[in-house]
């Protein structure tokens, strides 16, 4: 699993969907990729939808009204969760890239994901009770 970082091949692409035999680093990697793809999808969706703002108040305000249903709020929570996980995990990647906390990165990963879990719960409660 560790070596798939730097040696591209078509099989390696599908490998990261495979949960069998993953170590902590493998889980961090798969988590980072899934959230990355989700956030990229959301980014372009967000940009397209905000195009409503150029058309005037009707389009945008009716879109916001539509987004208040629980399914849309759940979708937003997924985006928030992906952002928190990807951002905190990314901090670990950036730190270790510059030589910080390399030997303790497993602990760092668990600590950051614990923070992520608490933050996701906080936003989940906040978004569904607002």
């Amino acid at each position: 699993m560790e070596s798939q970082h730097n040696q591209p091949s078509p099989g390696k692409f599908w490998n990261w969907f495979n949960p069998v035999g993953r170590k902590t680093g493998g889980w961090a990697f798969i988590l980072n990729r899934i959230t990355a793809l989700g956030l990229t999808f959301y980014l372009f969706l967000h940009l397209i939808v905000l195009g409503q703002l150029a058309k005037g108040p009707e389009g945008y305000d009716s879109f916001i009204a539509l987004m208040k249903n629980p399914i849309a709020v759940f979708g937003e929570l997924l985006v928030v969760a992906a952002g928190i996980i990807h951002g905190l995990n990314g901090i670990r990647i950036a730190l270790t890239t510059f030589g910080v906390s390399i030997s303790t990165q497993k602990q760092l990963f668990y600590a950051l994901m614990a923070i992520a879990l608490i933050a996701i719960l906080f936003f989940g409660i906040r978004m569904f009770t607002a």
């Binding site: 692409f13 372009f44 940009l47 005037g56 916001i64 990647i93």
Partner: protein
């Protein structure tokens, strides 16, 4: 030591050191910019910018427009360079990689131009 070094981020085959470094640095910058983006859009005004009038009023502040454009350019660069990293794992042939580079470049420039146009359009309402 060698096993530890294998577990840190480094450029892939087919990814220049510059692109890789930009991906890491924009990632760090995004932690800050995303926080600012969320605070500005959801927490400064009570309940967030939830109406067209609210958004237009907020975009009258040039610093908001500037911040959103910086955020846009950073997040688009980060996401498309990273998408290229993921595609590189499929080991594309050189001509396919060439197409990927062009498509991602056009999408990236297009997204930023569109976003700047949108931000300035809202600001001028």
């Amino acid at each position: 030591m060698s096993t530890i070094i294998q577990n840190i981020s480094k450029p892939r085959a087919g990814e220049s050191t510059w692109l890789w470094l930009i991906k890491i640095l924009t990632g760090g910058l995004l932690v800050i910019l995303l926080l600012v983006h969320l605070i500005v859009n959801h927490f400064v005004v009570e309940g967030g910018l939830m109406t067209y009038a609210n958004v237009v009023a907020y975009f009258q502040n040039p610093w908001i427009v500037f911040m959103e454009i910086c955020f846009l350019a950073t997040v688009v660069s980060h996401s498309l360079i990273a998408l290229r990293s993921i595609l590189l794992d499929m080991n594309p042939a050189p001509n396919v990689l060439n197409i990927i580079n062009w498509v991602l470049g056009v999408v990236g420039v297009g997204a930023v131009v569109y976003g700047v146009w949108l931000a300035l359009t809202i600001a001028s309402k």
